[in-house]
Symmetry: C2
Subunit: 462 residues, 2 copies
């Protein structure tokens, strides 16, 4: 812990915003810093959650349905279990619940009237640690169609950030780590906490034992893998936070081949995949062979405005093996059962509603709204003559201020326009000279920010 250089980036940004509001108590601060969603969650989804807590059978029926479909597979697996291969990640509480034997609870849940957590019929306690099977199967179906991912390979969680730490626990402290530079700070900070980062080196701004994969406009935001050092784990986020850049199919193919050649495991973060507009891959599993080398983490946060509701998932394919041939999925299942106890059943009901046809359309509209915001921000900075990246496949815009300190730019913009952004250096040494601007906000706020920025840069150039 002592090795950590600073407070975690986002609370630090909050603190600076807070101090700013103390200095300027009447300023109307605009927050384009933390990637915090602002638009309402479509009613179809909140209704599903309210019904989970107040009444309604939406998810139970679905779970029963998929339970039936899944029954044969479950039986098979349990039989494998008897033969000495433990497969509890199949035969979990939900599979059992879904199997509709004459168990107490089950006989009740087949009653066809409204259920609720406040009724004897509708109450549900612990769910499966791995998530409701109906939701796991819906995620597999919605995001990984034709990629060979099954529901039992999807582990539902309370968010991607939490899953990063659970993966760190999985791999222990004797592994080496590579990250994109710049990247979401939790990859490095959780590696430091796990004790595998080595000392921080002031001169480079890097941790000694972490491999930094340079991702700048000069190299199309993709590292030169022919010269990159090997690492056991490669954290790779696409569309990238903070640069907003989505890796192409050919780039990801190189990455998969690099991992395969080096015996590395890719931890692929697709939390922003819903924002992709240009046909770039939305999942690492679009790349042939990725099932053998990659874990994928993802989230409902930016996709469905669930930042506060808390829901995400991690995919661990069965083909992913340790060097000794043992399947990683078995260990990850053990971590999930021991160190986690499932996502909130209410959040899961909301997640399932997001994946229905109507729910999916509704949240796609919200994503489109943020993408429109991003376009306004891009146009604003371009009009000011600045080089701008991202925003097309992600809700983040990466603005270049050549030769300037990113913390100075952050401070200047905050001081003069009361707009909170994030200094690029917070995401790694390669972020120096950049700021990240988020596209989350009500339209009128984004337009107001645009006007302030134009005014500031014209009258008071940085």
């Amino acid at each position: 812990m002592e090795n950590l250089q600073n407070e975690y980036l986002f609370p630090e940004i909050f603190m600076r915003e807070f101090l700013h509001t103390q200095k300027y108590p009447h300023a109307r601060v605009i927050r384009l810093g933390i990637g915090n969603t602002t638009e309402p969650i479509p009613d179809i989804i909140t209704s599903a959650m309210a019904e989970e807590s107040k009444g309604g059978l939406l998810t139970v029926n679905l779970a029963e349905e998929s339970g039936r479909r899944n029954l044969n597979e479950t039986h098979l697996t349990v039989n494998k279990g008897i033969m000495g291969v433990d497969q509890t990640y199949y035969a979990n509480r939900d599979d059992m619940r879904a199997s509709l034997f004459t168990m107490e609870t089950e006989s009740r849940s087949t009653q066809k009237h409204a259920h609720a957590l406040s009724t004897v019929e509708g109450y549900r306690g612990y769910g499966a640690e791995q998530g409701h099977m109906a939701l796991r199967m819906s995620i597999a179906q919605r995001f990984y169609k034709n990629m060979g991912i099954e529901g039992n390979e999807v582990f539902v969680s309370d968010g991607a950030q939490c899953d990063i730490s659970r993966l760190q626990m999985l791999f222990g402290s004797n592994v080496t780590v590579a990250v994109q530079d710049p990247s979401f700070p939790a990859y490095i900070d959780s590696s430091v906490i796990a004790g595998r980062a080595g000392n921080f080196q002031e001169e480079t701004g890097k941790y000694k034992n972490i491999v930094y994969l340079n991702c700048r406009p000069e190299n199309n935001f993709f590292p030169d893998l022919s010269t990159a050092s090997r690492a056991d784990l490669i954290f790779f986020c696409s569309p990238n936070n903070p640069t907003g850049n989505a890796a192409s199919w050919h780039q990801l193919k190189q990455l998969v081949e690099f991992a395969k050649a080096n015996g590395s495991i890719i931890v692929y973060d697709s939390s922003y995949a819903a924002y992709i507009s240009d046909g770039s891959p939305r999942s690492i599993y679009e790349i042939p062979g990725a099932r053998e080398v990659a874990i994928e983490i993802s989230s409902f946060s930016k996709f469905a405005g669930f930042t506060g509701v808390r829901l995400g998932w991690t995919v661990v394919p069965e083909e992913l093996l340790y060097a000794n041939g043992f399947p990683v999925i078995k260990d990850y299942n053990r971590i999930v059962c021991t160190c986690f106890n499932g996502a909130s059943n209410i959040a899961q009901a909301g997640g399932l509603a997001c994946l229905s046809a109507e729910g999916y359309q509704a949240i796609t509209n919200v994503v489109d709204y943020y993408k429109e915001n991003a376009k306004i921000i891009i146009d604003t900075f371009r009009a000011l003559g600045l080089k701008v990246y991202g925003g097309k496949n992600a809700p983040y815009i990466w603005v270049h201020f050549p030769g300037l300190s990113s913390w100075d730019v952050f401070n200047q913009i905050l001081e003069k326009t009361h707009i909170v952004t994030i200094p690029g250096k917070g995401f790694g040494p390669a972020g120096e000279g950049y700021i990240r601007v988020g596209a989350f906000g009500h339209r009128e706020t984004i337009l107001e920010a645009s006007a302030r920025l134009k005014n500031f840069f014209v009258t008071d150039n940085i």
Copy 2:
């Protein structure tokens, strides 16, 4: 991971139940195994959660209220922050939100009509990683009155089991661990995953580097600390899972003194405190000096039937310091910000409703219901001439079968009565010869279980 001996206990029990239902598809299985709550959540609480997802301002008003009360403290602390002492665990997002400056969101949230996640006015994204300040303060007030615990020392989470792992991350792999024997298996299993347990020794059934504190009827379920080995961390659960025994004030005083003398940190698990009937301490902080040596983890799961909703908390007192004088709370705050992102806002709204006067009364009634169940189970086994422990201060009954293997007893009872229990050995070597019977169930189920047990033991004695 390879060092782990078995699957995690509870999925293993599920698997056995599942196989049993395959063997006897028409049996009506009664589950007194996993401590899974069965009774509906009182409507006042589910309404609060439904309103968090559908509408309503219950928690926002409370948050604003307590925000106001907390405002001076927040300012003070931020000022300390400027003076070089980082205190971001105070000045979090909620404090800022509560401070009611003229920020965008805040100006909206003061509108006095209904808010909802589906409305522009009511939508909320990320909350504080540490939990809503109103909930943190309510927990401090409800459970730690006159014990000197403040809201900022309470970290809201998605459950005690998850917090155990976050604490394991906090302390790294070079610490030694002591546990009660028997105890909740997550303490040991998460220690094994963290790499600090050493090898498993078949002959003793113990991990080499873990200190097992013997807790049996013979020693009043409290270890002889005069002969106990020192450990850096002592996991201590009271009322204990599985024995159901609550430690007395004098026993806990010994424990605190032992920790103080040895420079140990106690991780005190009070998840079952709501079940205490006999005046035993409900918190370690009832013991003088505990603030300097103890962390307390606790949960809404068994207290409010939130097993599926997922809500818990951890208290880290400011006086708790590492050997070098650094406050543990700062590192724990960093873990929470980096490896966690806050409990679901909907679950938190439910938690706050549980702590209102009306909500608290309603859930106390549910706890009393389970305690009545426990009494029925105790009477059943006593009538059969067996020695029975626990059940008075906890929803678990610990039944002694002298000289028998606990897995054999488990299997026999399941085979002959279709009742699922848990074999004591699953909780550690000192659990051999016992089974744990849970008191969670509908009354008619418990009565049916009682009848089956009486019939079995009379006609077909074990």
